[in-house]
């Protein structure tokens, strides 16, 4: 072992023990993604005819191809899994790797932890190698667990393991990319942004090239396309993993070379000075400022969600043909064939609404993060009433999901109102009446963060319950009183009935109670941190 690598072994063991668990959620989500495909597909699309319908629907929908890539063979469970999970599983592995490498290299330099380590008996390259090692091991674990569990759940061994191997290979390549960007950026945030940006650009490029059916050679300029070219379940090619290994090694070589040439704490990209004067001067502008980056990211995401769901809704007749489980979820509540389209619209907008509640909950959780980081204390020690600080954040948490839902609703209206046979005005109105249910789901987090922040995880309850009951409720034919726990169950179907507004009044009353609990609690409790 050369001098530059002294101490890597013990450091890697310690990193695995203390930082290893941060990889576990990525492993769990990727495994759930892949295993659920082979579990759910035979149940939702049981016959070859259903599957043919799905293939047609996907083929006519370029937006789906942009995200998931091409669907080579949807006639088998493994083929469906390959289409649904390959891109997203790789995405999860890449993010897990990037964050791991950045945290244990550049992130440690930011926090000062690295200084403690580097001043010990430790080679110059050991810290980076330990971080990269953790990401490489984590990626292999992610791919291995996902592949094996998918096989147990009914997937074919060869296809499932190859799919898992593409996850691992994607994780490897982007561990190496992150190792390079950690040398370029001067702080963890810049390093992460560079690596995630690289991934995002390659991801969209892959989807775009497959959607426009670009010439074959274009597959070879994009490392992510190599993963698609393994074609699990429709060819099972293992050899594209070889260039992925090679790329990983080359990038790691560059990363270690860069690292050996730079000073501790410095990077190629020197952060420029920021403004010496501030314009943020109220709790409201502070809340907007602190949530700015995620709010913009989510806005882009909801425009894409609107487009994907809009295209999806265009082909709803193909999807709902036959007696599939998908039909029972998506068109639950439709008594007649004419009622299918409106019922479908209600479900689609409810799903968008549930997704839109997620950024709302995150804004409330940010309040708790600020409190625990000790940054709320100086704000409340200024002349800011607690109620005013909380109001600003709650308003933002209720306003942003509203905007996102209406944004996505507008996209769905523009793309699909004709095919659904529903007036554009009615489609938009349906989006509007979904808003109170989003507020109820978000208001749960207001109550939790305001009154019982120790169980901050419970702030997800509104979103989680709504999601489970809206998606699983109809297929399990649960009783109405159970389904009625989800606020989205009370959203009226504006195309069918005009008298269903009492439900909205009911859930708005519940929202008011949650808000009251949150505000009262936040005013009365001690500040932590």
């Amino acid at each position: 072992m050369s001098n530059a690598l002294t101490g890597t072994g013990p450091l890697l063991r310690a990193t695995l023990r203390f930082d290893g668990r941060s990889f576990v959620p990525w492993i769990l989500i990727a495994t759930a993604l892949s295993a659920s495909s082979v579990l759910v597909y035979p149940w939702v699309f049981p016959t070859q005819q259903d599957r043919l319908g799905l293939a047609l629907a996907i083929g006519s929908n370029p937006a789906l191809g942009l995200i998931f890539g091409p669907a080579y063979d949807l006639s088998t469970d493994d083929g469906f899994n390959a289409w649904r999970s390959l891109a997203l599983g790789g995405f999860l592995a890449a993010l897990g790797s990037i964050f791991t490498v950045t945290r244990s290299s550049r992130g440690q330099e930011d926090s000062g932890q690295a200084e403690l380590l580097a001043s010990g008996v430790l080679g110059r390259s050991s810290r980076l190698l330990a971080g990269v090692g953790l990401a490489l091991i984590g990626s292999v674990a992610l791919g291995g667990v996902a592949g094996v569990v998918t096989s147990w759940c009914g997937g074919g061994w060869n296809a499932s393991l190859l799919l898992g191997a593409t996850f691992a290979a994607t994780g490897w390549m982007f561990a190496a990319v992150a190792a390079v960007t950690a040398q370029l950026g001067s702080d963890a945030r810049t390093a992460n942004s560079l690596a995630v940006g690289t991934f995002g650009a390659l991801f969209l490029l892959r989807g775009f090239l497959y959607s426009v059916e670009a010439p074959d050679w274009t597959s070879w300029i994009n490392p992510l396309s190599w993963m698609t070219e393994t074609r699990p379940a429709s060819g099972n090619h293992w050899w594209p993993l070889v260039p992925a290994m090679a790329l990983t090694l080359v990038l790691l070589g560059i990363a270690f070379l860069l690292q050996s040439r730079r000073d501790f704490g410095q990077g190629a990209i020197v952060p420029g000075p920021g403004p010496a004067r501030g314009r943020v001067g109220t709790p409201w502008s502070l809340a907007v400022r602190l949530n700015r980056a995620p709010l913009l990211t989510w806005a882009v995401a909801f425009m894409m969600i609107g487009v994907v769901f809009g295209f999806f809704s265009r082909s709803f007749k193909d999807i709902l043909s036959g007696d599939s489980a998908a039909a029972s979820v998506l068109a639950s509540g439709a008594a007649t064939p004419d009622g299918l389209a409106p019922a479908f619209l209600v479900t689609i907008l409810s799903l968008v609404g549930i997704l839109a509640a997620i950024p709302g909950v995150q804004i409330l959780q940010k309040v708790r993060i600020e409190e625990l980081a000790g940054r709320l204390e100086p704000v409340l020690a200024a002349a800011v009433p607690r109620s005013r600080y909380f109001t600003a954040n709650v308003m933002l948490a209720l306003a942003t999901p509203t905007i996102y839902l209406l944004l996505a609703g507008a996209a769905i209206t523009a793309l699909a109102s004709g095919d659904l046979g529903i007036d554009a005005g009615k489609v938009l109105l349906q989006a509007v009446v979904t808003v109170p249910a989003v507020w109820t789901a978000t208001a749960v987090s207001v109550a939790v963060v305001g009154a019982r922040p120790q169980v901050v995880i419970a702030s997800w309850a509104g979103v989680f319950i709504s999601f489970v009951l809206t998606l699983l409720g109809p297929t399990f034919r649960l009783w109405d009183w159970v389904l009625a726990i989800s606020p989205f169950w009370h959203v009226p179907n504006v195309s069918v009935d005009d008298g269903g507004w009492s439900g909205l009044a009911g859930i708005s009353a519940v929202t008011a109670v949650f808000l009251l609990i949150g505000f009262t609690g936040f005013r009365r409790r001690d500040l932590d941190g």
Partner: protein
């Protein structure tokens, strides 16, 4: 009463679960004075300050800050005070200048001239992001933010931790100027020297209660001076009642004497013919160490 007292606390109680953090704490701070608030780590200094700011709710006791109840009248109170936390956390993506302006405008505006002057005197670069500042520089951001506005009361929780000695000097000047403007300062610290140069009065906290309180002179009165003398004639043991810890070795006497009784002790020595004499000045350090020391009972008899 509240006309003279900026801070008045009687019998303050605060528990976190089963841990009793404050145990009948009393604290009086006169208007226009710098009041040192000393105590070892974990004694309850920060908890007291958070209660004074209305960030924590008192379990019991009577407290007024600038004549107001900090829990119920937090906002009108906070317009008139500024606070520097002991461990300053800044927003990672926000520059120091932005943070100063944010905190200033949340308090209701700051003095532009003083802001510029303080930034210059503390040699702070306001265009750096929060995540790029060192601990000392984060501390400077909070100090500038607090001192740039014209307030009646400054509450400073270990404000100089992380500052270099030059900056500590600047800090002491700045606090002196604030005092001249008529501001009241509550200065918490576990460093004696800092408080010694600035404070008019001092309260020492241990285990959630005040164990000593008074002016520095009064506190010195509680300490003992060390006496070394060479005498021509040996005194009898009964003749040295003013001294403690008496050691006689030939004509050489070493002993301690309470600061208040130094005169009396000298008078008692004179008849024995003093040929040389040193009296080491009473040090607060000795009192401080004694009060911090766990073996010493914290409830010391007071005059």
């Amino acid at each position: 009463m509240s006309a003279e007292l900026a801070i008045s606390v009687q019998g303050l109680e605060k528990a976190f679960g089963r841990f009793q953090a404050l145990n009948g704490l009393n604290l009086q701070v006169q208007r226009g004075q710098v009041h040192g608030f000393l105590g070892p780590n974990g004694a309850g200094k920060s908890t007291t300050i958070r209660v004074l700011l209305g960030l924590l709710k008192a379990d019991g006791g009577d407290l007024h800050v600038l004549g107001k109840d900090p829990w119920r009248e937090a906002v009108p109170l906070h317009r008139r005070l500024a606070y520097v936390p002991g461990d300053v956390a800044l927003w990672p993506g926000m520059t120091g200048g932005e943070a100063i302006d944010l905190l200033g405008s949340l308090r209701g505006g700051l003095d532009e001239g003083r802001r510029a002057e303080l930034i210059q005197r503390f040699e702070l670069d306001p265009a750096k992001r929060g995540r790029q500042y060192s601990k000392g520089n984060r501390q400077k951001v909070a100090i500038v933010a607090a001192l740039a506005s014209d307030v009646e009361l400054l509450i400073l929780d270990e404000p100089t931790s992380g500052l270099d000695p030059l900056m500590e000097n600047v800090f002491q000047e700045v606090i002196g100027e604030a005092k001249q403007r008529g501001a009241t300062v509550l200065l918490s610290s576990h460093i004696l020297a800092e408080v010694e140069t600035l404070a008019d009065r001092v309260s020492i906290i241990r285990d959630g209660r005040i164990v000593e309180e008074g002016t520095l002179a009064e506190l010195r009165g509680h300490t003992t001076a060390a006496v070394h003398a060479t005498l021509e004639r040996n005194p009898q043991p009964g003749q040295l009642t003013a001294f403690g810890d008496v050691h006689l070795d030939g004509g050489k006497l070493t002993a301690v004497v309470e600061s208040a009784r130094v005169g009396e002790a000298m008078a008692a020595l004179t008849p024995f013919g003093i040929t040389s004499l040193t009296v080491e000045p009473p040090s607060l350090e000795s009192l401080f160490l004694r009060l911090y020391d766990d073996d010493t009972p914290s409830t010391r008899a007071r005059p």
